[in-house]
Structures are given as structure tokens and as C-alpha cells.
Symmetry: C3
């Protein structure tokens, strides 16, 4: 791809040689000839061998450089889009003869790796990639161009949309964790017979677990991105364009509305409700049933970030407060003595 | 199954048509004809198409409905038991020819999925299901009717009881995390040559890890239920009918006695001892060696819930306390001025 | 091995019969004839059937016992070294015919288990063991004598050194979690095209995830030990001889220098920098960009342990402080009344 083509693709202003050929993307410090890089500072470029750099509109116009520049409104975004075009993910194709595919399955996928299993009445759409060792149960739906990396397990009845990416070892559709205490015999399993629906353009991290609904469904909305080792319990409902960082756990029936950002290692109790636009700091804890309004939240149990900070400052001031109280006691004693 | 048969099975009182046929279970709001639902409120049924509803003894007797009712002491429990009878889990059977089963293994299992491996001197009992891609090492024991979902790994020498359910991706019997610092050469591995024993009726969640004992054994007691992504370290001893929610981590040699309930994302230091009946809130942290008495516990380091709440209230009151102290200072200054 | 050979191997002083044959290692309480045990107390041995016990230099010299003793500077370390020599891990060998190994791969490994996949241009060195169901992508490098347990997934381009142990279900080289918000279309993936480098003598726990660098690399240094279910994000740089306990999560681009000890369930924000020798308590939280100096750290956000303890004591004293302030108010009111 030529620099001028990238400029057009990402809507950037070209400065310098538009004919330079771009074959790869790299960090500006390590870039080599042929690489595209990005630089989001309002000062001159650091030394770099990159052939083309995406810069921001704050970049000093007077800055002299022989490197082709692409001036973009959001250089990181422009770089991401351009890198995706210059270096598309390696598309796998073919069907490994070792795979067990039910005769009653409907598989159009571009790639079926070795040792894959696909159960009856499952449908794997066009251009999907099912990598080595993936287990797909019965009555599963996999949308177009979705990629499932090795050793994932998709239980019976799960529906996954188009253009999803599911990383290795993820487990989707295992039984939810629901038991009823029977005083005589310990625990009886509550039925875990619901579904999981993953909408389009969702990314799910390695070894993440998304349980099926107990009676209803567990749902992950369009464009949501989930990191590694996340736990999503039965009947959770996650909206569109939500971001969830690693090791967060979401208990049963909790609702997260669109466009929330959830940090890592967050814990949410069951039946909580996180409203659209809320931002939850890492390691925060949300109590069961809590309604979380839009804004930035922190701590366990969560508080608005400002309150958390103020409270934290008061806690840090406790040594001084104790000293003050001691002084007051001493002064008062003196007054009483008089 | 007819409603009258369910009534008999769960010991409920039948009201209405006992001949109605029940084929499935559902949430009361989504139920269709043929479905069993449950409703635990002391008021009239909401609109539902369910054919039969389990209600509690608080249900208003005067409530007029054409739906068959089952009046139970614990409707959720009765519903769970009934749903298990009406919709038994799909039993898998057969032996996929791709499986590698040692000639020295003794395998009676009802189902061996594709790409399973079973090592020498291992025994898989009657009616067990070993799903696709499960790896069972040597000298492993799997009890009757136990189900192991795809891609689990059971290391050498692990013993699993009867009627267990182990969800996809769980790893049982990996080496414990024990190293001895050698000032010259970094770390030397402490021997991790013990066992894991999982007793009967245990459920283990997806991608959960249970390490082998270093010298002794790691044990999970009868009827215990463990959620997804839980970490159980070497030599941990978990009693009977313990419930452990997702992402909790239990360090080496910790003991959890019978009938404890452990929330999600709890962390327990090594050599802690949680006594029978203790309830540990989510995200709590237990220090190494701590003895936790029965009761409800919360926070890091854990405290009795009441203490935690009182303390939390004091922390929230710090702003006011600081104000009061300031006022006292001002008043005292005034007095001294006089 | 004879006791006298073990004494020589671990540099211990022999007391008693050096000819006794040692075939196994065990806990002192459960040891049988032929077992080596260790005992690190400054008093007489408890009853044991062990044939040989490693004791410390504090062991009472006058203590009469017929058991062969090995007196060592660090008995636990000596025991670990001896146990490794007496009971070396079972070496697997052979190549299962079911494995798919690219013709363009260079595989010398001692053992390739059933249903393994190895992609093109990958190199698996001498004496490596690749257990059942492991997926190795293209352009992967596996060093000499490294053992990869079942169902691990090693993505394209990952480099793993010599003498590493990687436990079941670990995922190395999945895409990092990096997206750029595009106000119109949700999130665009930032390129995740970097590498992972695991140096020699590293141990990685079951179901742990180590993501590839986005543009640069993620690196785990020589001799580092990582427990189960740990999350290591893109571009993280971990030094040599670092120990990381279970369920800890390390965000993007964070640096952990040599010889740090990180507890379980710790969360580190991105771009943090933990300096050599720091010890981080379990469940601690490190804010993004934080520089953590050597020493012992605790809590969220982390503080030096001493500060944390002092602050915790002040919080616990809040009830009393409130009471004191109330008394002061009352006394002051009395004074003002006069």
C-alpha cells in the first residue's frame, strides 16, 4: 500500500512523498524502512527509520523531516485502521481431514483445523475459521468470518454472531453456578438449560468463561470486547461496545448497559445494574442489586471516584487527626485545671 | 411426566389438574404450554402460559387460577428437583474410534468422545462420560456416572469420585506452586508428587485449576460445588457441601471445613483454617494462618460483617469528624482568648 | 541412591548409616522405609518411619536416633534438591502418529503426544516434551528439555527457552487487549502483531495467559516462576527470578525487575514499574504508571507494609476516636456553660 492510499483510507492529510510503499506497522522507535508508525506528540519526530508516520494536528508544521507524514485527527485510531489494512490477519483455509463434523451440521467455514469437533444441527457460516482442537456442540450457530482459536469449547445451543474473535481456551455455554440447598442432601442443581448469545463483532479473551443462562439467556452485545480470564455468569446481559478488562467477574443476572468500561479484576454481585456510560475502576466491587449510574466509580463497595479520593485522603489524615484530638484533650485538661 | 407424578416426587400438594403433561421447565414469564415454572411470592400469579407452577405455602389460597399448582415447602428446591427429573441431561454414549486408550487402562465409560487420551492403569467407571479432547493421565480413577466436559486435563494419579461434573478446560493435578530459593541459582522446585482426591457429587467449573499435593494430597469433599476459574493450591483440604464462587483463590495447605459458603474473588493465604459454617463475602482476603470462626465475614483482612459495616460507617463519617474537631479547636481557641 | 550420595550431592553432613537406600521422598509424618524426609525444627524428631531425614544445623546434636541424618544449612532446599535427584520426573518419549507436524517444522523433541499440532517453520528442540493436544503455531521456537503439558496453546511466533515447564491449558501469544475508540463505529483493534519471549528455566501455571506484544514484545525473564490463572498483558516485561502467585493480573507495558515476589490476586495497572527486590502482598493494587521501590508493599492502592499497618490500626481505632471527640464536645459545652 502506498502512503497516499493510506491517507485516503483513514482520511488523513498527506505531507511528503505519497508514493512510498508501506508493508508493515511498528513502534516508532523500532520501525524499519517500509514501516508505518504513529506519533502523538506536539513536537519533532524522534529518530526513526519508519517510512511514514501518522501524526496529530498538533504536530509542529514547521518541523523539517524527509519522512512522509499523515496528519490525522486521531493518529492512534488512524494508525490502527491503517495497520489493519496493511497487515490483515493471516487468513487460514482448508479443512483438516481429522475433524469430526456431524453429518447433520452445516459447515461452510473457510478453515477447519485438526481435531475439531462439530455437533449435529450446528451451523458454521462462510469465512469462519475454526482452529485446532475446538469443540463445538450441537445446535450451535457460528456467524460469518468469526474466528475461534484453538482449544475453545462451545457448548450445545450457543449462538455466536459475525466477525467475532474468540481466543484460545475460552469456554462458552458451560452450566451456570446455581444450586439450591436441600437441608437433607446438600445441594441440588438448579436447571442450567438456557442459552448464550454473542452478537456481532465481539472479541473474547483467552480462557474466559461465559456461562449459559439458567432458564433464560446470557447475552453479550454487538462490538463488546472482553479480555482474558473473565467470568460471566448465567443470565448476565452485557450491552453494546462494552469493554471488560482481564480477570473481572460478573455474577448472575447482572446487566451492563451499552458503552461501559470495566477495569480488570472487578467483581460484580448478582442482579447489579450498571448504566450506560459508567466507568468502573480496576479491582472495584459492586454489591448485589446495586444500580450504578453513569460516571467514574472506584473501590469496594464502589463509590464515585471523587468521593473515593476524598475519603482516602481522610483516611490518610487519620494520624494527624488523632494528634489534634490528643492536643485538644491536653488543652482542655489544662483549662479545667485552672 | 404428569403434574401428579411431580407432586409425588417432590412431596408437594397438588391443586388442579394432576393429569397435565409436563415436558420442560422455564422461567414463569417465558413459559409455554407444557412447561413447569416456579413462583415464590405471596401473591397471585403473574400472566403465564406455564402448565404447572410450583408455589410456596404462602401462596394465597383464595387465588383463582386454572393453572395446576404444586404447593411446596421450598418451591425453588422442588422446582430444581422436578426440572432435573423432567429434563434429564442428554446422556452421551459410544466410543469414538479416534480416542487413545492405553491397553492397560480399564474403561467402562458410557461415552468416550473424539480425541480423548487415557493413560495406563487408569480406571474409568460405568456410566462415566469423557467428552472430546479430555486428557486423562496414568493411574487416574474416575468414578461412576461422572461427566468430564471437553478439553479438561486430569494429570497422573488423580482420583475423582462418582456423579461428579467437571466443566470444560478444568485442570486437575498440575504441580503445586512450591519453590525453594537458592541464593546462588534462583529457585529449586520443591517436590510436587502428591495426589488430588475429588470425592463424590462434586461439581467443578470451567477452567478451574486444582493442584496436586506437594507431598500429601489436595482433597475436595463430597457434594462440594466449585465455580469457574477458581484456583485451589497444593494440599488444600475442602470439606463436604462447600460452595466456592468464581475466581476465588485458595493458597497451599488451607483447610475449609464442611458447609462453608465462599464468595467470588476471595483470596485465602496459606495454612488458613475456615471453620464449618463460615460464610465469606466476595473479594474478602484471609491472611495466612488465620482461623476463621463460623459466621459471616467480609473485607480484607476479613472481619465479622457487623464490624466491617460499623467500621465502614466510621470511615464514611470521617468528613464530619474532621469538621467537629475543627469546630472544637475553634471553640477552644475562643475560650483561651477570653 | 544411598544416603551418603545424597549428602555429597547437597553438601550436607552425614550422621548415621550412609549406606541406607533412598527411593522416594515424603512428608515426615507419612514417610515409609526408603523415604527421605526433612525436619526444620530445633528439637528431636517426631515419630517417623523415614529412612533418612534432612535436618538443620540447629538440630540438637545430643538427640539420639537410629535414623540417618543429613545436617544441612537449608534443609528444605537440600530436601528439594535431593528429591529431584531421587525421583526425577517421569520422562515421556515417542511420537504419537496422530500428531500433525508441518513438513516445514524442525522437531527433535523426545516426546510428541497424541493430537499435537506443530505449524510451519517452528522448531522444537532436543529432549522437549509436547504433551497431548498442545497446539503450536507457525514460527514458534521451543528450547531444549522444555515440557509443555496437555492442551496448551502456543500462538505463532512465540519463543520459549530451555528447561521451561508450561502447565496444562496455558495460552501464550494470544492477542493483547488493545482497541481504539472510534466514536462512529465502536472499537477498532490496535495491531497486536508483536512477540512473546519466555527465557530459560521459566515455569508457567495451568490456564495462565501471556499475551503477545502489540508492536514490541512481551518478555518473561530467566528462572521466573508463574502460578496458575495469571494474566500477563501485552508488552509486559518481567525480569529474572520473579515469583508470581495465582490469579495475579499485570496490565500492558508494566515492568517487573529481577527478584521480585508478587502475591496472589495482585492487580497492576499499565505502565507500572516494580523495582528489583520489591515484595507485593496478595490482593494489592498498583495504579497505572506507579513506580514501586524495593520493600514490602500492601493494599490498594499499595503502601509500604508498615504504613498500611499503621493506617489500618488508625481505622480500627475510629470508634474510640469518635467517642473521645464526643467527650471533648461534652466537656467543652460544660466549660462554656460555666
Amino acid at each position: 500500500m502506498k502512503a497516499k492510499d493510506i491517507a485516503r483510507l483513514v482520511g488523513a492529510e498527506l505531507r511528503g512523498d505519497g508514493e512510498v510503499e508501506i508493508t508493515s506497522a511498528a513502534d516508532i522507535a523500532r520501525a524499519k524502512a517500509g514501516d508505518l508508525a504513529f506519533y502523538d506528540e506536539a513536537r519533532e519526530l524522534p529518530p526513526t527509520a519508519a517510512s511514514c508516520v501518522v501524526v496529530s494536528q498538533k504536530f509542529p508544521a514547521e518541523s523539517a523531516t524527509s519522512i512522509t507524514l499523515l496528519i490525522a485527527h486521531d493518529p492512534k485510531l488512524a494508525f490502527a485502521v491503517a495497520a489493519g489494512a496493511v497487515m490483515p490477519a493471516k487468513a487460514m483455509s482448508g479443512r483438516n481431514p481429522s475433524a469430526f463434523i456431524s453429518e447433520k451440521a452445516d459447515v461452510e467455514a473457510r478453515f477447519i483445523g485438526a481435531f475439531v469437533c462439530i455437533g449435529e444441527n450446528s451451523r458454521v457460516s462462510k469465512d469462519a475459521e475454526i482452529h485446532e482442537g475446538v469443540r463445538i456442540g450441537a445446535n450451535v450457530e457460528i456467524g460469518r468470518s468469526t474466528i475461534i482459536f484453538p482449544n475453545c469449547v462451545i457448548y450445545d445451543g450457543v449462538a455466536i454472531g459475525e466477525n467475532c474473535v474468540i481466543h484460545a481456551g475460552a469456554v462458552i455455554g458451560a452450566d451456570g453456578f446455581g444450586f439450591v440447598r436441600d437441608s437433607a442432601n446438600g445441594y441440588v442443581k438448579f436447571p442450567q438449560i438456557g442459552k448464550v448469545v454473542i452478537e456481532d463483532n465481539v472479541e473474547i479473551g483467552a480462557n474466559t468463561c461465559i456461562d449459559r443462562g439458567s432458564l433464560g439467556e446470557t447475552r453479550v452485545g454487538e462490538g463488546t470486547k472482553i479480555d482474558n480470564l473473565v467470568q460471566i455468569a448465567h443470565n448476565v446481559e452485557i450491552g453494546k461496545r462494552v469493554v471488560i478488562a482481564a480477570q473481572t467477574g460478573i455474577s448472575g443476572s447482572t446487566v451492563i448497559e451499552d458503552d461501559c468500561v470495566i477495569g480488570g479484576q472487578v467483581g460484580m454481585g448478582d442482579h447489579a445494574h450498571v448504566q450506560s456510560g459508567a466507568i468502573i475502576g480496576s479491582q472495584a466491587g459492586i454489591l448485589p442489586g446495586k444500580i450504578v449510574r453513569p460516571g467514574v466509580w472506584w473501590g469496594t463497595p464502589i463509590q464515585p471516584l471523587d468521593e473515593y479520593k476524598r475519603q482516602n485522603a481522610y483516611v490518610k489524615g487519620l494520624e494527624r487527626l488523632n494528634k489534634k484530638v490528643k492536643e485538644l484533650q491536653a488543652e482542655l485538661a489544662k483549662i479545667k485545671d485552672r
